[in-house]
Symmetry: C2
Subunit: 239 residues, 2 copies
DNA sequence: GCACATCTGTACTGGCAGGTACGGAAGTCA
DNA sequence: TGACTTCCGTACCTGCCAGTACAGATGTGC
């Protein structure tokens, strides 16, 4: 237990006086019973890189090249750390990819979860779609969506990663479906609306836009699509 | 010139008395000046496999695993030929992939071109979408679209393949755009319709369905999406 | 200062990737 | 029959892949 690759990184701003620190995954229980002071810096040589920045850079590589296309040499070069540091800090390639997926969900793709908080279903899907279009066409971001192009079709060695991405995509769709169900009970969508089909429709638009972005579609082109797609949405456009 | 990997295969049913035969790419010019008889079987040991069937099997592997995920060992095993036979018959991996793409366009994806022949724009997009949904959910086919998942994001060594797929996707979209332009002049679509946006919209639906299929969507689920998607189509439903 | 803990960089491993050399087999043609 | 052409199968090549051993560096606590 507490294998090094299961460590959770805590950035200095949280509670540590300097540098970054590694804490075991039992960190939560640890926090309950220990005071801040006892969590102060451990002995040993300190980490010479910022794990968050390293994850940022790893995200860029995986996003651009996909799971299989990103070699460890690509990754270590971009992350500016050596191979053993990567393994000590993040575990193997697959483990790093999982951490990168979380990093992506909390960063570039954070608009997805935020969109569900909008008051009406119309506002939810508009924020979801336009937010995605912006993310897909944002300067500095690789073109496309990591959930789609991380591992859509791949060799058998990457199969678990492929399945993980499928479940993340379906999970996002399920969250939207729940939100649309709520909209029906709230009278925000007509009672005969089909939340499952509507959620799937939005998912398809998002995933299709992702492929289009990978083909070079611009922001205004993506927004033009959304305008068409929302014409069939069963509720009025927000002023 | 006439490198072995540039050969074009002619299936026996075309004009040869038996077996399959390799003909140089200068085949067209050759046909103009030579008679059928002069194209009869050459000397040498005959091919021990059917190149068409081998391409079928290679298609299955690339379709399922993508360009990078399909190793030469996967391919030769599925094609039931040895490595040197593959290289002699199809060139290197990239060349084989190009031939597989053609094979795909003429086979499983042939409905795309056929759909453009429909008399009205509505019929065109309906056949395009429902045909694609059927293809994506057909038993025996890998789930998804080769043009999308062949190489959406990949390492630099596969970059030319990625670009080739982009141009094939954009080519399909351009063909649809032309067809929709024609529909406007024919009064089949309103004069203020935007063929570029509409074609891009349909492309997004198709590509989104492809990702959904890769996530396990069923035929009826895909068809349900199309019903929603076509509600915003600017012309009446057929019949 | 010294024991201890942790991280870093170099250099390495076994295995598989794509690709090929070459001798022998299986045909045609005269 | 034998020269010639083409294909097949074994066995191999180089290079990169993910992953690791190990010695030295850099910190803490006493």
């Amino acid at each position: 237990m507490c294998e090094p690759w299961n460590r959770v990184y805590v950035s200095p701003a949280n509670f540590l006086p300097y540098g970054t620190k590694q804490v075991c995954k039992c960190y939560n229980a640890f926090m309950k019973s220990k005071t801040r002071k006892e969590l102060s810096r451990p002995t040993g040589r300190p980490l010479s890189f910022d794990p968050d920045k390293a994850l940022d850079r790893a995200l860029d590589v995986f996003w651009r090249k996909g799971y299989e296309g990103a070699s460890l040499s690509d990754l270590t070069k971009a992350m500016r750390i050596n191979r053993p540091s990567l393994y000590a800090a993040f575990g193997d390639k697959e483990n790093l990819f999982h951490k990168v997926l979380d990093h992506y969900a909390e960063g570039p793709a954070s608009h997805s979860r935020a969109a569900l908080q909008e008051p009406t279903s119309r506002a939810v899907v508009e924020r979801l779609l336009y937010g995605t279009a912006d993310m897909l066409s944002s300067d500095g971001n690789p073109r496309g969506c990591l959930w789609v192009q991380g591992a859509l079709a791949c060799g058998s060695s990457a199969d678990s990663v492929r399945k993980e991405l499928i479940s993340r995509r379906l999970g996002g769709e399920a969250a939207l479906r729940q939100r649309l169900k709520r909209a029906i009970t709230e009278g925000d969508l007509p009672p005969d609306a089909n939340p499952a089909s509507l959620a799937r429709y939005i998912a398809i638009i998002i995933q299709g836009m992702s492929v289009q972005a990978a083909s070079g579609a611009t922001r205004s082109q993506l927004r033009g699509i959304i305008d068409i797609a929302l014409e069939s949405w069963p509720s009025r456009r927000n002023t």
